[in-house]
């Protein structure tokens, strides 16, 4: 096998007739060009045109986008929403923190009007959430935890110990055995790298 081709931004890779564009590339006048410095990857699946992408050692998705799952840390809460710092997009850690908001009505899918934010999150909690909107000029990224797999994954009790989930809405401190309310995530193995 020949060594993989390297390219830099602006390199013409091929015509659109030969391949369909993947990530790290752009189209211009019927040709596909590289927009990254990386390895050229051609993937062929079935009868369709092979997909051409440019990949780097680190994943290229650097920004939270609508629909992506993010890991965040709760920084402050009030009755209407919880403010968070987004730490990860998927499994890629972000170098710079982005701020996000989980509104009260986006905490869970059922009985939305009975949600109380302080029975769902506490500052310092690590939460899995999904981006629902990039927000507007005033607001931050809007996130939701209204899915079974989303919600608090790591939380510490008043005593400072890491709590164990006991139901979808409660966690317990292993030291003092006190129970605290949280919107607990049913952790799925694919997100359990943390």
């Amino acid at each position: 096998m020949s060594p993989m081709k390297l390219c830099v931004p602006g390199d013409k890779l091929c015509s659109v007739e030969d391949c369909s564009p993947g990530t790290g590339v752009y189209l211009r006048h019927g040709y596909i060009y590289s927009s990254l410095a990386g390895y050229v990857l051609r993937k062929k699946e079935g009868e369709e045109l092979p997909v051409i992408s440019v990949v780097r050692e680190t994943e290229t998705q650097l920004l939270p986008d609508v629909g992506t799952i993010v890991t965040c840390k709760v920084t402050s809460i009030n009755p209407r929403y919880a403010k968070v710092h987004i730490l990860y997009v998927g499994s890629t850690p972000l170098k710079d923190r982005f701020r996000g908001t989980i509104r009260k009505e986006d905490v869970r899918a059922t009985e939305k009007d009975k949600v109380e934010t302080y029975k769902s999150f506490r500052p310092g909690d690590i939460v899995l959430a999904k981006v629902i909107s990039l927000g507007d000029v005033q607001s931050n990224y809007l996130l939701t935890t209204a899915e079974n797999e989303l919600g608090v994954v790591v939380a510490h009790s008043e005593a400072g110990a890491q709590m164990v989930p006991i139901s979808w809405c409660e966690m317990q401190c292993p030291q003092t055995h006190t129970k605290e309310f949280r919107k607990v995530a049913r952790v799925q193995p694919e997100f359990l790298q943390a």
Binding site: M4, L6, P9, G10, K12, A37
Partner: protein, 273 residues
């Protein structure tokens, strides 16, 4: 004048010893070979040394050395924009900052950023912006910081090249690389990639004299930055631009190689499956 209370201050007045040199400084000849042995009236750029990814804290970084001109550039981001307005929602923002180390020029410069630095920062921004896929980075900003460690001419041109390398190293999506090249016209002859002395010397009252810097996207064949001062005829200017483009093309393979080796060093090729 307000005093700078955030830095340690020396005496109120101090002067560069160069004002009192017993021998007058050597002047540059306007003909014959150049001081560093390069050819006049030819696209004879200095050999450059480039390296990417030297700064551990930055998303991407590059260092460039052309003769004694040494610069460092770091790219950060995309990160949340500090100032928000409507256009940021669709498009990212590019922020550039270029500054000189106080010891980078023959005369010591002040820490406080002057108008020159700000103008260069603006030129840098305008030259880089067309090459970056900013629409891929809504709500965020990408920062490019350039520090000139030693100024021996053609700083802006090299800063542009260096910055585009840093951006590519940072994995910021770009339409093309941006390369910079400068030339100085002196009467009928010209020098490409001038040194500090060649840049600042104005030998006589001759006409057709000036400096030109071009930022060029080599693969798309587009000029993203152009700046000149002095006095030049239209013909000179046109050939000057062509000369600079030629200079950029000479730079291109070196830059491509540097980037490729960075990619190779960072990770082995992924499996093709």
């Amino acid at each position: 004048m307000p005093t700078d209370t955030k830095r340690l201050r020396g005496p109120d007045v101090s002067k560069s010893p160069s004002l009192y040199f017993s021998k007058p400084p050597a002047t540059v000849a306007s003909h014959g070979p150049r001081a560093d042995g390069r050819q006049r009236d030819q696209v004879d750029i200095r050999p450059i040394f480039v390296r990417c990814g030297l700064v551990s804290q930055a998303k991407g970084s590059a260092y460039i050395e052309a003769g004694n001109t040494k610069l460092m550039c770091c790219a950060y981001g995309p990160r949340e924009t500090e100032r928000k307005d409507e256009t940021d929602m669709k498009c990212g923002r590019l922020i550039t900052d270029m500054r000189f180390a106080p010891f980078s020029c023959p005369e010591r410069t002040s820490w406080i950023q002057g108008t020159q630095d700000r103008d260069l920062s603006l030129m840098l921004q305008e030259s880089l912006q067309p090459a970056i896929c900013l629409h891929k980075y809504p709500r965020s900003q990408i920062e490019v910081n350039v520090m000139v460690l030693e100024n021996n001419g053609s700083v802006l041109a090299h800063a542009i090249t260096c910055a585009s390398l840093a951006l590519a190293d940072a994995g910021i999506e770009m339409y093309d690389l941006v390369l910079g090249c400068s030339m100085r016209q002196d009467g009928a002859s010209y020098v490409v990639d001038p040194s500090y002395i060649e840049e600042s010397s104005c030998s006589s009252d001759r006409e057709n004299q000036g400096c030109l810097t071009v930022a060029f996207l080599p693969s798309l064949n587009q000029i993203s930055g152009l700046q000149s001062d002095g006095e030049m005829t239209e013909a000179t200017l046109t050939t000057g631009v062509r000369t600079c483009i030629e200079g950029c093309y000479k730079l291109y393979p070196v830059i491509q190689q540097a980037l490729a080796s960075t990619v190779r060093k960072a990770a082995p090729p992924p499996s093709e499956s």
